[in-house]
Amino acid sequence: MAKKSDISKTISRRSILKAGALGSVAMSAPMFYAKNAWAESAIGNYPIEGDTVMLGFNVPQTGAYADEGADELRAYKLAVTHLNNGGGMLDTFKPSKLTGSGILGKKVDYVVGDTQTKADAARTSARRMIERDKIIMLTGGSSSGIAIAQQYLASEMGIIFMAGLTHSNDTTGKDKRRYGFRHFFNAEMTGIALSPILAETYGKERRAFHLTADYSWGHTQYDAMKRGTEAQGWTTVNNLMTPVGAPDFSQYLTEVLSSDADILVLNHYGKDMVNSLSQAVEFGMRELQKNGKTMEIVVPLFSRLMAQGAGSSKIQGVLGTTNWNWSLQDEGSQAFVKAFEAEYGFPPSMAAHTCYCQTLLYANACEVAGTFYPPEVIKALEGFEFDGMGNGKTLYRAEDHQCFKDILVVKGKSPADKTGEFDLLELVGTTPRETVTYDASIFGGELGPYEPA
């Protein structure tokens, strides 16, 4: 109530102000709608006025992926510190034009938005950052549907979107956009990278049953795993779609039990995966004998946070792929992990890593282009090849804005092997970049023009 009376006071004060300053108010009106103020060379929030450059970090702070979001935000803040003051991967990333004193001489600042793990909310908070806070670049997201929704908005508004954690093929496939870029790997790469190692470990005569989260990421993941494993000689017995966020998977697991499958592939992510994996283990599926073989569970997309949620007794020996893990020993990873641990006291997640890299990659592209003008920055990112960011030699492919790099195949560590709370994944193999590179045209989609309509 106190708040309300305050507002009414300020309003009456303002109405007096308003009467006195009608002229300046009229001036401010066009600023309200930045779009109408576009001059010919102006796109989005370019040109930047003043000596700071504003970045927008749109992460889930509430909802199912809030923990991933919190970790992404930590990484973004670290990236801003490093861009302004040097340190972290700035020392290992090459070829780099980053100076450690901002971007193009401007100090880097940021604003934060909450996607609430919902596409519509993500777009509204992105709009706030674009329209009010005048961000030049938008980044974040912890789910493909949300990343895609933001990517379209950003493209319409002429703001470059550097996607965070999104693994669906659609993001750089049928929904690819000129203004959207993805450093993270995708379902297709998982399928290509994981299948040979699966066949090697479990044999070529296997019958797989899939449980798939019923949304775009799940569908592309299932499709990629089916093609990948069938190419290795496996048979796909069945696939059941499961609703997102299901607390109980027993009815699907009953179907798996009643089938003659000897492999269970869980195309789930986040809590769904933790739940389905825990319950599959509960149903005894890792001890069961089927077709004379021990039944095995596969989790195509693995992350340390998920492994933590499930507990190492359940994930031990389970195979999957991951974009990055903090235990990697290369220079770039070490520099990032050290800086992150010094700041926050624990190692970063793969979501944090991809967000950190994306911020640096954008900043560097501006330096290379010598301007913040989006079309030039986009051109600087397209076809950019770099190293020293923890994934070896990496290429930002021009045709679909997807990063291509070596893919890590990991396995859950057993409780006995792990050396600490965060030591949950063990590297079992790396599939080289050349192997996972696929034809950019297979998913269709159009990047669209360099200058938005």
């Binding site: 309300k4 329209e131 549907g145």
Partner: protein
């Protein structure tokens, strides 16, 4: 102060229109921005229509997202497959929304109380789940219905920025005018009588069912217009538009603002979106917790919502009772 209130009482519509139309001037001063202003108008329209059902008849629907969402999809599909002209798209969308409301209203309004609420909720969730899976081919599923490189236009005028804001504002003002007329009409009086005593009304020989359905369909038309405008404003349809949380938010807004006052739900919608997108920033991750507490406090201490709060403050300020209810 008294003078201000008397103006408010005499020319409610004029004052309302003035506040809305000057929004581009004053809203940025409190941290607002263009996109949010337009979104507030759209949700205000949605909540305003909802008040004709909840506020007048007392029927608590947990499924109004259906009409918002169905109309949004219809608009999106029209843009995608027909043209980017908004007039045909909006007409089709409102027809689709209205048809849906006639069917669902006919089936659910025979029930009352919690049974009605749960039935509408069940219908809503059924549609939401189907949009995600069965009709994923049409709706784009979880990715939403995306409309690349398309700018909706009316008679060739591009609907964005200021143009879109003023168009939406005009629709809201018109909607508010119509809602007030309905409120004062014999039809509105019967609706309010349904809330206070449905049985007695039935004894007088009035076909209550017809009136309830009327209120339900009118509120659904408001929802459809709002849903359609949402897609004009942003050429994108998310499956959340159909989700129960959209209906839930609508209820929260209405209650926070003050049910049955028409202006209350509009204030509630503005408050909630403003809170979610502006005040939430300094609050960080805890904003939802704060919103939950505010909401609880309102239900406990201010059952009439903000509008009741204004009346109380007014009473304190001038030291006497406000004369009667507002119109």
């Amino acid at each position: 102060m008294e003078y201000v209130v008397s103006i408010l009482k005499k020319f409610p519509l004029t004052v309302f229109a003035l506040v809305i139309l000057t929004m581009p001037f004053w809203f940025p001063w409190i941290g607002g921005y263009g996109g949010l202003a337009t979104k507030i108008m759209i949700w205000a329209l949605f909540a305003l229509g909802f008040d004709i059902l909840l506020g007048f008849t007392g029927y608590l629907s947990f499924g109004h997202a259906i009409f918002f969402g169905v109309s949004a999809y219809a608009t999106g599909l029209m843009f995608k497959h027909f043209s980017d002209e908004i007039i045909p798209a909006m007409i089709v969308a409102v027809i689709v929304g209205t048809l849906a409301s006639v069917i669902i209203g006919y089936l659910t309004l025979k029930k009352s109380g919690i049974y009605f609420s749960i039935l509408t909720l069940a219908f809503g969730e059924m549609l939401h789940s189907s949009a995600l899976s069965t009709f994923g081919g049409f709706t784009g599923g979880e990715n939403g219905l995306t409309l690349p490189d398309m700018i909706p236009s009316m008679l060739g005028i591009e609907m964005r920025g200021e143009v879109m804001f003023y168009m939406t504002a005009a629709v809201l003002i018109l909607g508010y005018y119509i809602a007030r007329r309905i409120s004062d009409s014999p039809f509105g009086l019967i609706l309010k009588a349904i809330k206070s005593n449905q049985e007695r009304l039935e004894y007088t020989g009035i076909d209550v069912q017809k009136y309830k359905l009327g209120a339900f369909v009118i509120s659904a038309i408001y929802a459809s217009v709002a849903g359609s405008l949402m897609v004009v404003y942003e050429p994108y349809v998310g499956t959340e538009y159909l989700r129960w949380s959209t209906s839930g938010n609508l209820v929260l807004m209405s209650v926070m603002g003050g049910v049955g006052t028409l202006i209350g739900p509009i204030i509630g919608a503005a408050f909630m979106l403003y809170f979610e997108n502006v005040l939430s920033v300094p609050l960080g991750e805890e904003w939802l917790l704060v919103l939950g507490l505010i909401f609880m406090a309102i239900v406990i201490f201010l059952p009439g919502g903000f509008t009741d709060g204004f009346k109380l403050i007014y009473k304190k300020l001038i030291g006497k009772k406000p004369d009667g209810e507002e119109k």
